[in-house]
């Protein structure tokens, strides 16, 4: 087979469009991770498992109370906000002064604990939301696109807008940003940094909770689902710039699009090769990532 194939234009347009939409979802998953890193320079290796919990919350709301994933978005966001705050007070706060390896292994261990507990409690079966309100394809100018993905990317954009408004326009948000910039100076100004950290973990969790709820409208849930999206989330954060929430948005879209384009033009087997090559290229030239501040 040829090294380079030129796809027909309708396939190409459809590919690019669906890639961009998927990119918004990647971005939303990565946003919380980026926020937490920006705030306290800790990489949460259990981020994928937070996503898994968000998806299971939406799934169980659907399975037990026949609540559509769209309606359970606030519940998922709240639940994962709680998980984030709990993890901060229960684990992260205790190891803040510890060596970096302790921080890495604490969240890594948490990831394994969450995954194993999910399998124990809910079996490793693949679960799905059978008849969500948003389902099936929509036709846009003769191009077919999954409606769930369109809705999920709109939700992603709305969440980013909300997050931006919160950080730049509210007092708490500004305090959060101040803590991210200089922990000690913020503390001297009378900001309770401990509470800011907890808030950061809460918001990080809430973002991924929202992403999880929307993901269940087009993706299956199982205890290992975090690892499916986890790795891409880390690459998205690193590519966009550690700690930069807008960077995560840009990087998510780039990754979503590149993945499809590489798959269409070269071969699907190479789609992640292209993504990681781009990532390597960017961090070689700009180690801080596209929009990183450091």
């Amino acid at each position: 087979m040829d090294l380079l194939t030129i796809p027909p234009s309708d396939v190409l347009i459809q590919g690019i469009l669906s890639g961009i939409l998927m990119g918004f979802v990647y971005a939303l998953i990565a946003a919380g991770l980026s926020l937490i890193f920006g705030l306290m320079e800790i990489v949460n290796f259990a981020h994928g498992e937070f996503l898994m919990l968000g998806m299971y919350t939406a799934f169980w709301m659907y399975a037990l109370f026949a609540l559509d994933p769209l309606l359970s978005v606030p519940i998922c966001a709240l639940a994962l906000f709680g998980v984030g705050v709990l993890v901060y007070y229960g684990i992260i706060r205790r190891i803040l002064g510890g060596p970096m390896l302790a921080q890495i292994f604490a969240t890594f261990g948490l990831a394994i604990l969450l995954r194993a507990s999910a399998q124990f409690l809910w079996t490793p079966d693949f679960r799905q939301v059978g008849d969500a309100w948003v389902a099936g394809p929509v036709q846009l100018l003769g191009i077919s696109i999954g409606l769930p993905r369109v809705v999920a990317s709109l939700a992603s954009l709305a969440t980013f807008a909300g997050l931006y408004w919160f950080i730049t326009r509210t007092e708490t948000g500004v305090a959060l940003e101040a803590t991210a910039q200089d922990r000690q100076a913020a503390a001297l100004m009378g900001i309770n940094t401990d509470r800011m950290f907890a808030l950061g973990w809460g918001i990080g969790g809430a973002c991924v909770g929202v992403a999880g709820a929307f993901l269940t409208t087009f993706f299956y849930v199982f205890p290992d689902v975090g690892s499916t999206f986890g790795l891409l989330a880390y690459v998205t954060v690193a590519l966009g710039g550690f700690g930069s929430v807008p960077g995560a948005l840009v990087a998510g879209v780039i990754i979503g699009m590149l993945e499809v384009l590489a798959g269409l033009f070269i071969a699907p087997a190479f789609k992640y090769v292209a993504v990681f090559l781009l990532y390597l290229g960017v961090v070689l030239v700009r180690p801080q990532g596209l929009m990183g501040k450091f």
Binding site: T5, S18, P148, F219, G263, A269
Partner: protein
């Protein structure tokens, strides 16, 4: 202070180690039982397959160790009669779908748990590494559910496979295509292959590519991908562009779900799908995606609708359902049960726990068709350790249920062709 702590920790570690060794020493099997090491994925994306396998092995143990009025090997008496009624016990380990863990666990089962034979491991890639350990040490390894043809081409002396491999399966698929062309008066010209990229998918794709060439079909798309991808947009895009007459997927459950959903969303309408089992026969896939995946055909060595011809099936199914929380018997558990009983039967006929005697008995296996759940002609191994009595069938999803459609003489339903487009299904 730090120094004292260090010493204390070291002492604790030493004590823990001693305790472990003591436990290890106690774990030797007593003389009146036969121990079989069982390797399956109990965690990770296909954990459910491993759990099903474990449940059906418990059914097999019940059949072997207690008296049952069933036309299955070893059912009539309690334990293994030629070993003085010895009971069979299993040690189940989780290989997580990882070849290196499978290898290490196989080693541990043989050297620490002192098992008399190994059984497993679903993933062809794991079966490959784990059986290498068995071969090196000289312990029989029976496999019931890995379909990479290469596994029985290695010239191993201790490896036996009871079920068909993808060579057999793919041959049947291409026979089917030829017969369907005649029946429906159509002509297929092109095929597309979509496969996950571990040993199962890659070896299946290789065989299919060769067979396609041999049968005069043009391969217009060959798409290997990593199982568990978050998106299959690019793969579907390639298929939409290449438009193969026949699509041949070799993919696991998660990918089969995502493939079906993405095909719907991107309006990809294959006319004929002939899948290499795996994801397509997972009961979860059938129950959740069965209606969406209307018309998908898969090869399988087992089908529930053969129950009319095989009265054993409903009886064993009831036993399985009690252990599995209501899940029906499906392809993999049926194959596991068959393979496990073949192994236990060989150990019984060997009348000994010696590896060489079991190996000899396995080679002399000649299990008749009526003692099997499967639609096979029997179990007899060739010099490569492959069962030559295998036969594959094809089933098709129609209205959310699988029906046997090929060979035509076993068919419960006529083949639905072409698969209705998404637009027509509303």
């Amino acid at each position: 202070m730090i120094r004292r702590m260090g010493r204390r920790t070291a002492l604790e570690a030493l004590l823990a180690l001693l305790a472990l060794t003591a436990v290890g020493a106690c774990a030797r099997p007593p003389a009146n039982e036969v121990v079989i090491g069982v390797l399956y994925p109990m965690t990770g994306p296909v954990a459910q397959i491993g759990i099903d396998a474990k449940n059906v092995i418990d059914v097999a143990l019940d059949i072997i160790n207690n008296r049952h009025d069933l036309k299955l090997p070893l059912a009539a008496e309690a334990g293994l009669p030629r070993l003085g009624g010895a009971k069979v016990r299993v040690v189940v380990v989780d290989h997580q779908g990882k070849p290196d863990i499978g290898q290490a666990e196989a080693e541990r089962l043989i050297t620490q748990e002192k098992v008399h034979a190994l059984f497993g491991a679903y993933f062809s890639s794991v079966t490959n590494t784990a059986s290498q350990v068995a071969e090196r040490i000289g312990i029989p390894f029976v496999n019931a559910d890995s379909s990479s043809p290469a596994l029985t081409e290695r010239g191993f002396q201790w490896f036996f496979r009871t079920s068909p491999h993808d060579g057999h399966f793919s041959l049947v698929m291409f026979d089917f295509l030829k017969d369907l062309e005649k029946q429906k008066k159509v002509k297929f010209r092109t095929v597309g292959i979509l496969n996950e990229n571990t040993q199962f998918g890659s070896d299946s794709a290789k065989v299919q590519e060769e067979l396609a060439k041999k049968h005069g079909y043009r391969l217009v798309a060959k798409l290997p991908f990593k199982s568990g991808s978050p998106s299959l947009d690019a793969e579907i895009g390639r298929l939409k562009a290449a438009r193969p007459d026949v699509l041949l997927p070799s993919i696991y459950t998660s990918d089969a779900i995502l493939f079906t959903r993405t095909a719907k969303n991107l309006d990809y309408n294959p006319r004929l799908i002939v899948a290499q089992d795996a994801g397509y026969t997972d009961p979860k896939f059938v129950s959740e995606m069965g209606k969406e995946a209307e018309g998908a055909i898969t090869r399988a060595p087992f089908a529930m609708d053969l129950a009319g011809r095989k009265p054993l099936i409903p009886v064993v199914n009831e036993m399985f359902k009690k252990l599995s929380g209501g899940r029906d018997l499906s392809d993999v558990p049926a194959r596991v049960l068959t393979g496990f009983l073949v192994l236990a039967d060989a150990i019984n006929r060997a009348g000994s726990r010696e590896p060489a005697a079991i190996q000899k008995a396995l080679r002399e296996t000649n299990m008749p068709a009526e003692q099997l759940l499967m639609p096979w002609t029997g179990v007899r191994f060739d010099e490569k350790g492959q069962n030559t009595g295998v036969r594959a069938i094809l089933m098709q999803l129609q209205g959310g249920t699988y029906y046997t459609v090929y060979p035509f003489e076993l068919a419960a339903r006529d083949v639905l062709y072409p698969i209705p487009t998404w637009a027509k299904r509303k």
